[in-house]
Symmetry: C2
Subunit: 501 residues, 2 copies
């Protein structure tokens, strides 16, 4: 049986190598590749992903898992071996259910839609993408139907990136969140808007990048096992546990852009760099779900990186780097600027308080599209209507309305947005548990010390990789199931103090 | 039959994608990878290469080729289709003859030997590598024996990188070259040595790199289909015909290092960038042999890049970039400096005249090692003896003697060195043919125009990729079989003028 398990590890190692290679090809495409390489690169990535998929769903993999499953039951649930068999079987079964021809069709359609969207967005032309979006909706439903037995058709789509979550679990969670956030946002809006002009001066790129690296080195990002490059959209990407890279983008007239995206991506990277080396080369060596992953990027970016204590430590240093721009700006002004709350049209620019309202709108629209109560042609108007009622702001056009996010135009309908809000909720819940275990956490952050926090996260979240389901991980780490209370408490405390609510 | 050919193309496309991915992983390893990525990276590259090899030697590939071979005979020899079948069959047969287990053993041994050598060279410890080298010799012989029917055991090893060449063809070529070069070198040495101090001042890296890029852009290197990065050892690497990259290294106290390595690698790249796009994704889309490839790097680096006309055009610009260092150095002094001839211990630092003597020494020693007339333990002394007699210079230690080149310590014995000299010979032969077709070539070079030369090489060499065997290519391009006359004529003319011989 040990030989069988070794055989499984070897197969998984090869699949992992193919996926890691595809990831590097993508990283290179976005960072360094000359334009002439584009056509061949798309083909190369497709070849690697196809081979990895073929190897995963190969009948011999199924037979090996059949032999190993009884063995798994004889091992402790927590053991690496049992977890490996369990998680591989889940991945295998999920992959094997979808015909390769359908995956190819989906992938081609996504690429074509993305192409059309990149032109339709700047020209505000929803009509150009509408028929593509209808097809996306149709394919999303078809994909869900490969996983029969669902309650709501969105459930299998949610499950791809946030296992165990369903419409039935998310609806009440998001609905109570919505009930809490709308009055909080309104109470804040009743106050004068914070002055954030200090963030929009000229900040030379090289100094911005160097300061960002200084910050994340202090957070614990290990540069011997990673690096940062510039890309159009920031992301974190892993080629092995010893090579976890991040990217950022810089705007010289907007200090927040690179700074917070750097901390955000470093948060993702701290998770991956903190996975136990023994899991290397297996499907366990990665974050467990989109939501848990996002909890770490949000935790480091927002709960740490937008906290008063954090800037108590780092602001003098930032003033040293930009004396002309910030030398005469008090810490309090800067702190208020980076935490300015204001209803906005674009999700990615939203503040901590209103951000989740953007997500809830999208989630509700996805539910309605998928269950057929909303037609694609009526989507732009439904979008505007929800922004009017929820955020009291109306997009002047579709460019900053229904066309703003890549997700629907380069992926499925129903799979992605909820992960961002789950991340906010989970991040606050993890942070609250760490704080309960280490009441000095805020004082340490004020002194630029992050080892205790990172250590707690490492012990309770990072090291396990994807050994546990998200719900198991959260309960083990925090002693409670996922809930909105820590997040609401965090927002109320922070913004209550800021706005004297 | 067209469907079968399409099937062949599809399989070859996948193999090509795997090899391209492995190449990108290697490129990243040498340019950007953080140290923590090393262990996983080696494994990832090995996985991709193994998969590519498995797909090439798969029995279904053999069956497909069996079906296509009669079809090939019905097609014009020159056609892309016939060439594709012909070259694929050759690659398939070569790969299928070597058992995968042997390849794995060889690859492991090479990696281990390389590790030992990296420590043995700086400590001048030949004894530490001797037993490894004996094993390398043994494995090189075993590899040759998978290709029975050879005349000399080195023949199959030569054939891997320089098809059709054998000990019997190379011995007389190298021997007559040796006979011509030794007296030429001696005649030059009788003159006072050129003063090259102007090259060894302080030249800031950024300006060196920018100047190098300016030069190769003018030569015709297409930056929309390539880029340059820094590595420990310069190289050219291709991921597709639209993405052909080069690397260089810079020494701020040695102007020649980056400048000539940049032109050298750009020469390799011009070849790959000049291959017809229709051959993309097939085994035809690459240079035909190590020798022909090296002919292009040497041609652009030496015949063009160390010519008087070239610097007539570029030297004023170089003086503009480095006014303090070169402003008062006359063109003639600079020209003599970059063409200084002097016997030296290290091949990679050798001038155009003595370079091939280094190669001939290695080739003769490889023949003797392989046919058993020289034992590994006697190799260092044999090395010193040959340097004494051929170059009139004796290495003080093995570091700059038998331990200097990576080739024997990270590869086979018998496969590599001859390619460098073949490249010198072929480069001169191609250049002479281009000059015969375009007698104004030197005048154009003096005006910084390289389109005619690059056009001739594109038409006669580059576009064909590896459609023709090296000998066919040379005869088609130059009207004569490979011979030493153009090279000797080139050296005599250039150095005759320089040293009034």
């Amino acid at each position: 049986m040990r030989a069988k398990l070794e055989g499984l590890r070897r197969r998984l190692g090869a699949i992992n190598d193919l996926n890691a290679a595809a990831a590097l090809l993508y990283w290179d495409q976005t960072t360094h590749m000359p334009p002439g390489g584009a056509a061949a690169r798309a083909r190369q990535i497709a070849t690697l992903r196809k081979l990895a998929h073929q190897q995963l769903i190969h009948s011999s993999m199924g037979r090996l898992l059949d032999v190993l499953t009884p063995y798994e039951k004889s091992l402790p649930y927590d053991s690496d071996e049992a977890s490996l068999i369990r998680v591989t079987r889940r991945d295998y079964e999920r992959a094997a259910k979808v015909p390769a021809a359908f995956m190819a069709q989906l992938s081609n359609h996504m690429a074509a839609t993305y192409e059309v969207w990149t032109k339709a967005r700047p020209t505000n032309d929803f009509a150009a993408v509408a028929s593509y979006l209808e097809k996306t909706l149709d394919l999303s439903r078809q994909l869900a139907d490969f996983f029969p037995g669902y309650e709501h058709i969105i459930d299998p789509l949610i499950d791809f990136s946030n296992e165990e979550m369903t419409a039935a679990t998310l609806r009440p969670l998001f609905s109570s969140l919505h009930q809490q956030l709308v009055p909080l946002a309104q109470a804040i809006m009743a106050n004068p808007v914070a002055d954030d002009a200090c963030l929009y001066q000229q900040f030379p790129e090289a100094e911005q990048l160097a300061f960002g690296l200084e910050v994340i080195a202090r957070l614990g990002y290990d540069f011997t096992r990673g690096r940062q490059d510039k890309t159009h959209h920031p992301f974190m990407i892993k080629f092995s546990l010893g090579d976890v890279r991040i990217t950022t983008r810089v705007r010289e007239d907007d200090l927040g852009e690179a700074l917070f995206s750097t901390m955000h991506e470093a948060g993702h990277a701290l998770y991956e760099q903190g996975i136990r080396m023994e899991l290397e080369g297996t499907p366990l060596a990665g974050g467990v779900s989109a939501g848990v992953h996002e909890s770490q990027s949000r935790l480091w970016e927002n709960l740490v990186g937008r906290s008063r204590g954090f800037w108590h430590f780092f602001y003098p240093r930032l003033q040293e780097v930009f004396p002309r721009q910030l030398g005469s700006v008090p810490l309090d002004t800067f702190y208020r600027a980076i935490n300015k709350v204001r209803p906005s049209l674009v999700r990615t620019n939203a503040d901590e308080v209103t951000y989740n309202l953007h997500v809830v709108i999208r989630f509700d629209l996805e539910l309605a599209l998928l269950d057929g109560t909303l037609a694609v042609r009526d989507l732009p108007e439904a979008w505007r209507e929800r922004y009017r009622t929820d955020l009291n702001i109306t997009p002047a056009d579709d460019r900053d309305g229904v066309l703003q996010d890549v997700h629907w135009y380069g992926g499925l309908i129903g799979g992605e947005f909820q992960g961002y809000t789950l991340g906010n909720l989970m991040g606050a819940q993890f942070f609250a548990a760490a704080l309960a275990a280490h009441p000095n956490l805020y004082q340490e952050i004020e002194q630029g010390k992050f080892d205790t926090l990172r250590g707690w996260l490492g012990d309770h979240v990072y090291q396990h990789g994807s050994k546990y389901q998200p719900s198991e991980l959260i309960e083990r780490a925090t002693g409670a199931p996922l809930n909105i209370d820590p997040y609401i408490h965090y927002l109320r405390t922070k913004y209550g103090e800021l706005y004297h609510l």
